[in-house]
């Protein structure tokens, strides 16, 4: 199975709603009461993207990058964090063969989130610049259709923009591990939701018993770059209950050049 088939991005069919406008829990949303589509309070969502990107896409707020329209969008300091705390919901298809394992991967969430899959809850730790990989093998539906709801919380310290603006507003955002331009800078108006959202790729990856994790490639050079070595280290995880006898191979090919691939 090629790597592309092994990993599929979950970037379609997402809907979103403000958490305060949804009366169901995450467990209910992913079992008995899933949203039926982009009908109020749900709307089509941009994933990857931010809460504000979704609100702009649905014309719930004006585009902040035209004229002084940013002034017409309520800032999180005035609205409170709940106003920009949003549910994101989608379904995805994944059906496993025997001895296959499945991970649900988030490459970036700002700032923290509760993930519900088919009624099971996982709390994602805080931090904008970290990946999350959840082993969901045991909670996928046998028929392959899976319901995913993510409740995304804004940064803990969104701060308040002083009347005079300035570099980084009141600097509160610096207490969190997140991008700092969002309180505004001399070249940039403040971002009202502080970039809250599932801001990077969501994917599903399917592997056999052993998976490859974060290989590291390093080259060393000798004799004026004539003699070169490629050093490769990788982590391997065996999720099965038996010792896995493996053959691990590394294959280096030059880029496709004029349709010829040199090995």
């Amino acid at each position: 199975m090629a790597e592309q088939e092994r990993k599929s991005t979950v970037d379609s069919g997402w809907v979103a709603a403000r958490s305060s406008e949804v009366q169901f829990s995450g467990t209910q949303l992913t079992t008995t009461h899933p949203p039926t589509g982009p009908t109020s309070p749900w709307m089509e969502a941009l994933v990857p993207g931010t809460v504000l990107a979704t609100l702009v896409k649905n014309k719930v707020v004006p585009d902040p990058f035209y004229g002084l329209q940013n002034e017409h969008i309520i800032d999180i300091a005035d609205s409170g964090r709940d106003y920009y705390t949003f549910w994101f919901f989608t379904t995805f298809h994944c059906k496993l063969e025997s001895n296959e394992y499945c991970d649900l991967n988030f490459r970036g969430i700002n700032y923290s989130a509760d993930v519900y899959l088919n009624g099971h809850k996982t709390i994602l730790p805080k931090g904008m610049f970290r990946r999350h990989s959840l082993d969901v093998t045991d909670i996928l539906h046998p028929d392959g259709t899976n319901l995913l709801a993510v409740l995304v919380y804004p940064p803990d310290h969104p701060g308040r923009i002083p009347p005079e603006g300035g570099q980084g507003g009141d600097h509160e955002i610096g207490k969190d591990v997140a991008t700092q331009y969002v309180e505004g800078w001399d070249w940039m108006a403040p971002i009202r939701d502080r970039n809250t959202g599932i801001w990077d790729e969501v994917s599903i990856s399917v592997t056999g018993p052993v998976k490859i994790i974060d290989p590291h490639l390093v080259s060393s050079f000798f004799d004026h770059y004539k003699r070169v070595y490629l050093h490769t280290t990788t982590e391997l995880e065996n999720r099965s209950s038996w010792t896995a006898e493996c053959s691990l191979s590394i294959h280096v090919t030059t880029e496709l050049e004029d349709g010829i691939c040199l090995v």
Partner: protein, 234 residues
């Protein structure tokens, strides 16, 4: 000679680290920054087969053979870069981020980064108040030969040197900062365009964070090449 297979056992319910015996290349095509030569990229594919199951996982990444060194030049006080032993005059641009609502797209990255290459730039500096940029950003920097100076999310204005002075000790949770920094390094470290990690913009991170970053990011002694005077090079 560019295909190597090793047999190993991975115990049940465990996680192991494995290092291949190094692969030898004779005069490989080197990766050069924009304006200095070709951005030769190799495709590195790692597969793992499990007896009784078949192929269990695979991974691939474009890789460029290049050696990037930099140090503070005594004569100018500036940072002097060398690529594959050749000094390079850095023509760089500041980069905040692609879109303020994080509508990040490969198409936009390709356009923006090709634009920098067309402007004859050879470096992009990712400002600490923006993002740890994404693999798609680095892919196009690899492809068009833009070296990347990547700052961690610390800025002078917000962390200890702004008006009012605030967060002199950086973010509240240093362990969280270091976890995120390490995970970001793992996400980006195989890109040939990644030239320099920088603690922050106009500010040195708090001592404990700075010491940990320096320790984590130092060149592993295994790769420390010394010159005839036993002085580390690179």
């Amino acid at each position: 000679e560019h295909l190597q297979t090793q047999n190993l056992s991975v115990p049940a319910k465990s996680r192991v680290q494995y290092t291949f015996p190094e692969l030898f290349f004779s005069k490989p095509n080197l990766w050069w920054p924009n304006g200095m030569g070709k951005q030769s990229l190799y495709n590195v594919i790692i597969n793992i087969d499990v007896k009784g199951y078949g192929e269990s996982d695979s991974w691939n990444h474009h890789f460029g053979f290049r050696k990037i060194e930099s140090h503070i030049d005594d004569a100018t006080g500036g940072r002097l870069f060398k690529v594959n032993g050749e000094p390079i005059f850095i023509r760089g641009g500041n980069w905040i981020l692609s879109d303020g609502l994080l509508r990040l797209s490969k198409k936009r990255y390709k356009t923006d980064i090709k634009f920098h290459a067309d402007m004859n730039f050879n470096m992009i500096r990712c400002w600490g108040g923006g993002l740890a940029e994404r693999p798609e950003f680095y892919h196009y920097c690899d492809y068009y030969g833009l070296l990347v100076w990547q700052e961690f999310c610390i800025t002078g204005d917000v962390d200890g040197r702004g008006i009012p002075v605030s967060n002199p000790n950086g973010p509240l949770d240093h362990d969280l900062f270091l976890f995120c920094a390490r995970d970001t390094v793992k996400l980006l470290r195989n890109h040939p365009s990644l030239a320099l990690w920088v603690g922050g913009n106009e500010q040195i991170p708090p001592d404990d964070i700075n010491a940990a970053l320096k320790n984590d990011l130092r060149l592993h002694p295994y790769f420390e090449i010394v010159d005839e005077n036993n002085k580390p090079v690179g």
